[in-house]
């Protein structure tokens, strides 16, 4: 009792052994796939979350100004497409992180198990609600509170789910904390989850702003037939403003994320990458500011440049994220490799020992009945004991039934029937025992005393 208490209190670092199979690809290539595919996935997640937040805001505003209700409807149609892309694009990074960080990712999953699993029903419900919201626009036209509530519930779910992912992705980095965690909520309160959460939410708004700018400006988009009073310029400006404000806020949250990161994965390589990424966003923000200050003709001028610069920023941030992860886990992964090798060595040493032990058993000069006793131990003791009933009858009873009837006993063992009401039917041993073994077994059973 005391020792187990002692074990529980010290925060030891577990070193499990890894799966003894090689990686299917060189590690650098897997990391590259992980970073790239994750960024594509998170882009659509951002658009889904940002889009639904924007739709909700716009639809509430639409209660007073019908034009905003139309805007809400237009953004709502993009959510259901972006959400499908978010899901399929999530599979590749999931695959990569599973291969690269098997021990870490799965351990974090198990420790937050129920909530991790809850991602599935929660997301499903949120998705169904977004469809319900989209397809009941006309039906619930005169019952806006109900219609808006449908979306509001979906938004609440969308806002909660990132916590689950961030908690997992954070927990996997700290094996030394695993023994201290009891369920999801205790893992959520580990440092860094909350700052990262807000970093994600404002990234969503920022990216959705740029998306709005592009979506409203598309040439084949029948803007004028959809919106009676809004102009393209107005909505593009709104998009830019959202992105700009969200990006400025990111400059406040970003340092907070960096400061709350546990020091174990910090390094100059990380700081450098993050600062370069942030620096690249500054000219983009300047161009958006100029765009907002300008007029209808100049608002599109630098859009492509803004897009390119922001993409580069995102790539740097995504890389920084991976650098922190590999810094944080570098030493522990080395220990896991040692442990895995150590176990392989133990196994190598154990094989000859076990062979020796087996050889000793079989080469000893045993009588036929003694050999039969070994066969019995191997195959029958599960259900039969020499002198008392277990699952089936005791051996002494068999001996009395089949006295002098070796063949009958053997054929029963091979293909048993069902005689007794108080015992389940015995499985047949035709495929498990050869004739030699059957002879030994019968000898043992019939000569038992």
């Amino acid at each position: 009792m005391l020792t187990s208490l002692f074990i529980a209190l010290q925060s030891a670092t577990p070193v499990p052994k890894d799966i003894p199979l090689p990686l299917p690809l060189p590690e650098w290539l897997l990391i590259f796939l992980l970073v790239v595919s994750f960024l594509v996935h998170i882009l659509f997640v951002n658009l889904m979350v940002g889009g639904s937040l924007l739709t909700l805001w716009s639809q509430i505003k639409g209660l007073k100004n019908k034009e905003y209700d139309i805007l809400a409807h237009e953004i709502a149609t993009t959510i259901t497409v972006n959400k499908s892309m978010a899901v399929v694009m999530g599979i590749a990074p999931l695959l990569c992180i599973n291969v690269l960080y098997t021990i870490y990712f799965y351990s974090a999953n198990a420790l937050t198990g129920l909530m991790w699993l809850a991602v599935i029903p929660l997301v499903t419900v949120a998705f169904l609600l977004t469809y319900l919201h989209k397809y009941t626009w006309k039906l619930l036209e005169n019952n806006k509170p109900v219609h808006i509530s449908i979306l509001a519930v979906a938004v609440i779910i969308f806002l909660f789910i990132p916590f689950i992912f961030l908690t997992n992705i954070n927990l996997m980095l700290f094996p030394e904390k695993w023994a201290l965690v009891k369920g999801f909520f205790s893992a959520m309160t580990l440092p860094n989850v909350f700052p990262r959460y807000f970093h994600f939410i404002f990234a969503s708004l920022s990216i959705t702003g740029l998306f709005l700018h592009w979506y409203m400006g598309r040439k084949n988009y029948p803007f004028d037939t959809i919106f009676p009073t809004f102009s393209r310029y107005e909505l593009k400006k709104k998009g830019y403003s959202l992105t700009l404000v969200a990006s400025v806020i990111q400059f406040l949250i970003g340092p907070l994320v960096l400061l709350t990161l546990p020091s174990k994965g910090l390094g100059w390589n990380l700081v450098l990458v993050i600062f370069i990424g942030a620096a690249i966003a500054i000219p983009a923000m300047w161009m958006m500011w100029k765009g907002i200050q300008g007029d209808e003709r100049t608002i599109d001028k630098d859009f492509k440049k803004v897009l390119i610069l922001m993409t580069i920023t995102v790539v740097f941030m995504g890389t920084g994220r991976q650098i922190y992860r590999s810094n944080a886990l570098e030493k522990h992964r080395e220990l896991v490799r040692l442990k895995t090798d150590e176990f392989q060595q133990i196994k190598k040493d154990a094989i000859p020992k076990s062979k020796e032990a087996k050889a000793q058993e079989s080469t000893a000069n045993l009588t036929e009945a003694q050999k039969g006793e070994n066969v019995f131990k191997q195959n029958c003791t599960a259900c039969h004991k020499p002198d008392v009933k277990l699952v089936g009858p005791p051996v002494i009873e068999m001996a009395s039934i089949y006295k002098g009837n070796k063949a009958g006993l053997q054929s029963w063992i091979k293909k048993p029937g069902k005689k007794r009401a108080d015992a389940p039917q015995m499985p047949g041993f035709e495929s498990q025992l050869n004739q030699e073994q059957l002879d030994q077994l019968a000898e043992y059973i019939l000569t038992i005393k």
Binding site: S4, I7, A8, A12, T13, P14, V15, P16, K17, I19, P22, P24, L25, S84, M85, V87, V88, M89, G90, I91, A92, L95, N98, V99, T102, F105, S107, A110, L111, G113, W116, L117, V119, T124, F127, L128, A179, K182, G183, L335, E342, F343, I346, K347, A350, I351, K353, S354, N379, A382, C383, K385, L390, V391, D422, P424, Q425, P427, G428, S431
Partner: protein, 481 residues
């Protein structure tokens, strides 16, 4: 052993995976793989039904659009998320097996993912451009072609995943050459595909017929002819599905069939097995009857009558998945990893030293006279908890009590301890007990304790973990000194 053990003590871990997976299979087969060609075919019928001056029969087209809308909403929400759910639940319950499979099948899954992305994009294009495509015949024909592309990609997604499923069940291959192509060339691959393809078509036809009766009014021409088309579809696929089921069963590798026959000898499995045959015939048979009524006595067919084959079709698929799961026992990866996630090769160490010594997470690492219950609990978590619960579905107390006659009498520790090391010889679907004798005794003590106290086993998601002092970072470093 090497992962914190997630555990659901009432539902049973396997049941969790089974529920999610079967729901996914039903949606995937019934509303995607089989449904896309069904809908596209119906859409094409609409064009040929219309007069020369029309693009398509608009009333008909609207009905087909509606049933596609249902499929679209369900596949992109529940369908997609249960697909991810299989990953999530398997990673929780069976991390070592899915981790091993991904390392070997990375490219299969990666290819699968690319095909899947294409499928999702195509389904969005197909559904979301439907209304716009009714503007010209050229656009409509292009739209129908998209439907066929979509059908092909849905089928390929299934064809790839079947390779992975087939591989896990094929004994021996893991050791000899565990590569991607092997999954496709293994003897169970084609039969399984031969079974799944027509069955998907069949289930889709039933779902389709159900939706048709929902979306059309009684005694209209529209319903009569739509039901007739669906019935012909059923009559085409039902016999092929039955033949497929038969070929699949026949082609199961020798070792598997051997397992199956032993398994049939056990009471639980005999029930499953018989039901499977009944369900297969009932499923296909009922759809044939519905199909015949649909073609000759269309008006007699009521929506509630279609519900019956919908339920049997679901059971049909569900049971096949259950049997497929059962026959791979005692392995999760044939001849390589047992259902308890321990490697066959590693058993030599566990039998020599005991499992507790090498477990990363355990509250005790050696059995003593005082800690038997606690030690047994840890052994249970490591060696049994993937398939058995303490008190819930397939509980270890229940299976032992049933084995000893189902009397509910106190279980005998000595008999259970003696049974443990030999259990795999009589019950070939069970993996060999991995630990040493003391651990078997501790486990038996714990099982008896469970029976007497009604205690439950909490998983790592509730209780957290305790690290074995043998397997901490400091222990490892000290050893290396």
């Amino acid at each position: 052993m090497d992962f914190p053990m997630f555990h659901l003590d009432w539902l049973n871990n396997r049941m969790l995976i089974a529920i999610i997976a079967i729901l996914h299979v039903i949606i995937n087969h019934g509303l995607a793989v089989g449904f896309m060609p069904f809908v596209t075919w119906l859409e094409q019928r609409g064009v040929s039904r219309s007069g020369k001056d029309q693009i398509t029969d608009l009333e008909w087209d609207k009905m087909v659009y509606k049933i596609m809308k249902v499929a679209f909403i369900i596949t992109t929400t529940i369908g997609a998320m249960t697909g991810v759910g299989i990953w999530f639940s398997v990673a929780l319950v069976s991390p070592a097996s899915i981790g091993s499979l991904i390392r070997v099948f990375f490219w299969a899954w990666f290819t699968e993912w690319i095909v899947f992305v294409t499928e999702v994009i195509l389904i969005m294009v197909y559904f979301l451009t439907w209304k716009n495509s009714n503007s010209s015949l050229k656009a409509k024909i292009r739209h129908i072609n998209f439907g066929w592309y979509l059908s092909i990609f849905s089928w390929i997604t299934m064809a790839i995943i079947v390779s992975i499923l087939g591989f896990m069940m094929d004994p021996g291959n893991w050791q000899t050459h565990h590569s991607l192509l092997n999954g496709f060339t293994n003897p169970i691959y084609l039969p399984q595909l031969l079974f799944r393809t027509p069955t998907a078509m069949l289930v889709a036809g039933i779902f389709g017929m159900f939706l048709i009766t929902l979306f059309t009014k009684k005694d209209t021409n529209l319903r009569t002819s739509a039901v007739k088309y669906a019935s012909k579809w059923l009559l085409l696929w039902a016999p092929i599905s039955l033949i497929g089921a038969f070929i699949y069963y026949r082609a199961m590798p020798e070792a598997m069939t051997a397992n199956l026959s032993t398994a049939v000898g056990t009471i639980t499995f005999a029930q499953y097995y018989n039901t499977l045959l009944y369900v297969a015939f009932a499923g296909a048979g009922l759809t044939i009857i519905i199909g015949i009524i649909g073609v000759y006595k269309t008006k007699l067919l009521k929506p509630y009558m279609v519900v019956i084959p919908v339920v049997t079709a679901i059971a049909y698929l569900g049971f096949f998945e259950r049997v497929r799961e059962f026959i791979r026992k005692p392995y999760v990866i044939s001849q390589y990893m047992y259902s308890n996630l321990l490697l066959k090769d590693d058993y030599v160490v566990y039998k020599q030293d005991g499992v507790l010594k090498h477990a990363t997470y355990t509250t005790v690492n050696e059995v003593t006279e005082e800690n038997k219950v606690e030690a047994g609990k840890n052994v249970f978590t490591i060696a049994c908890s993937r398939c058995h619960t303490a008190q819930g579905v397939n509980s270890v107390v229940y299976v032992f009590d049933r084995m000893y006659g189902g009397t509910g009498k106190p279980l005998d520790i000595a008999s259970m301890a003696a049974y443990m090391p030999n259990m795999h010889t009589g019950r070939t679907f069970m993996p060999e007990f991995p630990g040493n004798e003391k651990e078997a005794e501790a486990l038996a003590t714990y099982i008896r304790y469970l029976q007497q106290t009604g205690d439950v086993l909490e998983g790592a998601q509730e209780e957290g973990i305790t690290i074995n002092p043998n397997n901490t970072a400091s222990a490892l470093i000290n050893k290396k000194k």
